[in-house]
């Protein structure tokens, strides 16, 4: 089972790497934020798998913190960092 956990964590990491493409391409800030959201959900799953594979229960706490931080980061982005003029360069 441990091997499966590690392989799946690796697969999720590759998946995350592919998602990076969206961060670079955008085109809108919202697209980049959506990709950052992917980082949150993927990191949580990876950490939970690694916690089980390594017997390090503390990694589950790290997963929980990641879940919270991803949400806080997204809210901070929408409320503070997002410029109001997205539409001007927002279309493809």
């Amino acid at each position: 089972m441990e091997t499966l956990y590690i392989l799946l964590a690796l697969f999720l990491l590759l998946n995350l790497g592919a998602g990076m493409g969206r961060v670079f391409r955008g085109p809108t800030a919202a697209d980049r934020m959506a990709a950052a959201q992917l980082f949150g959900t993927t990191a949580v799953a990876m950490l939970l798998l690694l916690a089980e594979a390594s017997g390090q229960g503390a990694l589950r706490d790290v997963a929980l913190v990641f879940a919270l931080l991803a949400a806080v980061a997204a809210v901070a982005f929408v409320r503070r960092a997002w410029s109001e003029s997205e539409g001007n360069h927002g279309d493809d």
């Binding site: 229960g57 589950r60 706490d61 929980l64």
Partner: protein, 162 residues
């Protein structure tokens, strides 16, 4: 801290301590010694929660019905979007629709707007007055009928009649 109108509502504090204790038990992975910190933490959390959020009139016996209703639909939502995303020709026909709330303003509306984002083909995209803006993946489906079903289920959880 904001003034609490009529002091802490003790029934609310007591009722909310139960789920908070459950959360603590899970967070500490059941370690018995952790309750030395856990009990004060749970009591403080319940006090803060009662001060910040008034009691919500949830009909608890409706929850066992709502959870499977929601889980089934969110799995269907995942399957539907996964099929479209992996399909060679990307079968989508997006549209924005306005859905008129039957729920009264407040928490129930927020819950509906958030819930539909996990259900097949719908994404909450803002509230304006009594209208909920919904981005739908495929405008050819009867989305409004689906949302109405979810709305009715949420109304039952909040003990409302539409």
């Amino acid at each position: 801290m904001a003034a609490i109108p009529e002091g802490p509502r003790w029934a609310t504090v007591a009722a909310r301590s139960v789920p908070f204790a459950g959360v603590w038990w899970a967070l500490a992975e059941g370690a018995p010694a952790s309750w030395w910190v856990g009990v004060p933490a749970v009591v403080l959390a319940a006090l803060a929660s009662a001060a910040l959020m008034p009691p919500v009139p949830i009909v608890w016996r409706e929850l066992p019905g709502f959870v499977p209703f929601f889980l089934k639909r969110s799995v269907l939502g995942g399957l539907d979007v996964a099929r479209r995303a992996l399909h060679r020709r990307l079968p989508i026909a997006p549209a924005i629709i306005d859905y008129r709330f039957r729920l009264p303003p407040g928490l129930a509306r927020v819950m509906l707007a958030n819930t539909i984002s996990l259900l097949p083909g719908t994404l909450g995209a803002g509230m304006e007055g009594d209208l909920l803006k919904v981005h739908v993946l495929d405008g050819r489906h009867d989305t409004a009928g689906e949302i109405a079903k979810v709305e009715a289920a949420i109304a039952r959880v909040f003990g409302m009649t539409l």
